[in-house]
């Protein structure tokens, strides 16, 4: 069992939790993820590692409530325990394992979208600790849904917040902002790292491809075991089929078949929808 030592609702429907998992905290690196299973009946849910404290033995996750499993997790409180917590899974992000000298020569821009903002944080933080300054673009629906701005102000060289409704920062999409930075501000980036909804990563990738800007994305396909055993997470990268849980989750964006990846994500929409309805009915009757 793994204890929830901290829980906060960052904005509506987005939660942060610190979970006690000594072994995972000890070996976790930015870019990797965990799989949690709330109870005996639960699904195995993949979530990116958003931070970790090796001394305290805790790992931070940030998640958005979508369906039955994320709602079940969100219903727990500090002090409660979850049944299973396994990780770190997948490969660490290349920018954190790369040589410092190599990184110092690069101008890096991160593009974060929605709940994907959280997993960008440990990467930027680690780079800052190494003395490497980066730009960060965050995209979100409105001021009310923006998360982790404070934290990013401390570690990013330049932070650009974009909102869909213009309630805060730049009014528009992250791609509009990125284009503006490159066209108007004449920024010359060597590497772009985009983490967020599949559709955002697809459009960022399209844009950067036209500029020849090397881009890495962190994919979030449907997973079951997360250890390479089932193939549920397969994605097409170039002309190869990869298992995102062991070969990724980060890949060269320009080689990914995003349309296929998006279709595969919707595989269980109907089945899960039903489960959700059952769960909601249950909670109504409780």
């Amino acid at each position: 069992m793994y204890k929830i030592t901290r829980k906060r609702e960052l904005v509506e429907n987005i939660f942060l939790m610190d979970i006690e998992a000594r072994r995972v905290a000890k070996s976790a690196l930015p870019g990797q993820f965990v799989i949690i299973k709330v109870d005996e009946w639960g699904e195995r849910v993949p979530l990116t590692i958003c931070d970790y404290d090796r001394e305290e033995g805790t790992v931070t996750i940030v998640f958005q409530t979508l369906g039955a499993s994320t709602k079940k997790l969100a219903a727990l409180s500090e002090g409660d325990e979850i049944r299973d917590f396994v990780g770190p899974l997948g490969n660490p992000s290349e920018v954190v394992t790369d040589e410092k000298e190599h990184l110092l020569k690069k101008k890096i821009v991160f593009v974060a979208g929605g709940v994907g903002t959280a997993p960008v944080y440990p990467q930027v933080k680690m780079l800052k600790e190494k003395g490497i300054d980066v730009d960060v673009i965050i995209g979100t629906r409105s001021e009310k849904t923006l998360i982790m701005e404070e934290e990013f102000r401390k570690v990013a060289k330049n932070l650009y917040v974009c909102t869909d409704d213009g309630s805060y920062g730049f009014h528009g999409l992250v791609t509009d902002k990125l284009k503006e930075l490159m066209e108007v501000d004449k920024k010359e980036y060597d590497l772009c790292i985009a983490i967020g909804p599949m559709i955002m990563m697809k459009f960022v990738s399209q844009l950067t491809k036209s500029y020849g800007l090397e881009t890495i994305v962190s994919l979030n396909p449907i997973m079951v075991d997360g250890t390479g055993m089932c193939g549920a997470c397969r994605v097409t990268v170039g002309d190869e089929v990869k298992f995102a849980c062991v070969d990724g989750p980060e890949f060269n964006a320009h080689l990914i078949n995003f349309d296929e990846a998006m279709r595969r994500q919707s595989m269980y929409k109907t089945a899960e929808g039903k489960k959700n309805i059952i769960m909601e009915q249950k909670s109504v009757h409780e």
């Binding site: 072994r23 009946w41 699904e43 079951v224 250890t227 089932c230 193939g231 269980y268």
Partner: protein
């Protein structure tokens, strides 16, 4: 001497296709005693030589016959830590029973069902033998809790070692819990029970630990003071065909389908994990795994078929499984090979183009090579395709540990004598070494490595 075996009661096909309960009821005491009577107690029993863990079969049968079921259980326990499992899933027809002398003129003694009876009886009557040598304080780590790892751990615990099993999944058992379906091998009453016997012997099991990620072989040795390591990580990596349409929604590996059904219990409405409720399921392949997937699909309410490129004679699955599958209404499309999966506008499977095959000259495996019949393309109507084409070892451990060599198929190389890998003190066995094989072969490899580890540590401390 009766020529025929005491028949085994089974759930009727029309009933069992609607539930996930065990198909075979096994013997009751009366039936077991009758069947035990058929063993002629050979002085040089051929059955024992054909059992990969060399259970003293005539001895346990005699004890059973004499009403000493506890004694029979102890006799089996000297050689096997998982008799309730093996009695159910061993390919007995090729092993113990295949060599039974009574089988020459009649049907062989039903050794598997007798073994199952004795093991089940002991579990039901809470008879547990936890005899072991006093602790020697030496720590051994076992990676993976499949039959290889469980066996190695049990044997070492009996020798007094302090054994910890590290398992990547949330539940121990390996293929026994995620692959082989409930209707052949009940999880609660059989697998969990047999694993709990090992816990009684003092074996510790840490789930949710992936060796190569959460910890490494090196950190176990250097930071956690394990003096010997056994790797029983199996061969879990599924293969795909590489044909067009294979990434469509509704195409999955047998591992995914079976994991959702067995480990995640997706067939039960009180569990959260979804499973594709295909109405027309095509399973590609004809091994045990394919039969398990096809029979699971039947129980989930689908029309279910096997697509296999060779003929009936070459079907690799056990005869009993094929027989059960056909009884349950699984359609067999033999000499048929998929060439393309058809996909609808939303990305879901809507059919599969196949070609007819005929058998040509024998290939390296000695089986006649299937060749396409030109112009024989036809479409199979299906909305799910389950690929059951075999698996290979997961490269994670070898790739994160310096000094463990693998062959070109990714299998860990060992010294056949004692199970030692190319890294001293680190042993391996089971599917991780052989590629996918059987439960009992994995167990026998676990046993060999346990004595290998014991000899290695005795030597080291002498």
């Amino acid at each position: 001497m009766k020529k025929n075996r005491v028949p085994v009661r089974e759930q009727k096909p029309e009933e069992r296709v609607r539930n996930f309960k065990e198909v075979s009821y096994g013997y009751n005491l009366e039936e077991a005693l009758l069947e035990a009577d058929r063993c002629i107690q050979c002085r040089n029993p051929r059955c024992v030589g054909a059992c990969p863990v060399a259970i003293n079969i005539p001895k346990f049968i005699l004890e059973l016959r004499n009403g000493d079921i506890k004694g029979a259980r102890d006799t089996i326990g000297e050689a096997s830590n998982l008799p309730a499992v093996c009695g159910r899933v061993c390919p007995q027809e090729e092993q113990c029973e295949g060599s039974c002398i009574v089988g020459i003129k009649g049907e062989p003694v039903n050794i598997g069902k007798l073994e199952r009876f004795v093991a089940d009886w002991a579990m039901e009557n809470r008879y547990r033998n936890t005899e072991k040598l006093p602790g020697n304080g030496r720590k051994v780590a076992v990676v993976g809790s499949g039959p290889a790892g469980l066996t190695c751990a049990g044997d070492l615990a009996k020798l007094g070692y302090d054994v910890t099993i590290f398992e990547a999944l949330h539940e121990p058992g390996g293929v026994l819990v995620y692959g082989i379906p409930e209707f052949r091998l009940p999880k609660e009453s059989v697998v969990r029970e047999e694993i709990s016997l090992l816990k009684d012997l003092g074996v510790k099991i840490e789930t949710n630990v992936i060796v190569g990620r959460t910890v490494t072989i090196d950190s176990l040795i250097e930071e956690e003071d394990f003096e010997g390591i056994f790797i029983g990580s199996g061969a879990g990596l599924p293969m795909f065909m590489g044909i067009k349409g294979e990434n469509a929604n509704g195409v999955m590996s047998a591992n995914e389908y079976l994991t959702r059904a067995n480990l995640m219990k997706a067939f039960r409405s009180d569990y959260d994990t979804p499973i594709s409720h295909g109405r027309k399921v095509a399973v590609v392949g004809a091994g045990n795994v394919a039969m398990d997937a096809a029979r699971t699909a039947v129980r989930l309410g689908a029309e279910s078929r096997i697509i296999y490129r060779r003929s009936e004679k070459e079907i690799p699955a056990r005869a009993e499984e094929v027989h059960h599958a056909i009884e349950e209404g699984v359609i067999m499309n033999l000499l048929t090979n998929p060439v393309e999966i058809l996909v609808d506008e939303k990305g879901f499977v809507k059919g599969m183009i196949c070609v007819k095959m005929e058998l040509g000259e024998p290939d390296e495996s000695g089986r006649r090579r299937p060749v396409e019949i030109a112009g024989s393309e036809f479409v199979i109507d299906c909305d799910s395709v389950i690929m059951s084409l075999g698996t290979s070892p997961n490269p994670l451990i070898a790739s994160t540990t310096k000094g463990i060599d693998t062959n070109r198929r990714g299998c860990i190389i060992i010294n056949e004598e004692n199970g030692e890998t190319t890294l001293p003190g680190v042993f391996a066995g089971g599917d991780a070494v052989t590629g996918s094989a059987t439960v009992i072969l994995a167990m026998s490899a676990g046993k060999k490595a346990a004595s290998g580890i014991h000899a290695y540590l005795e030597e080291k401390h002498s």
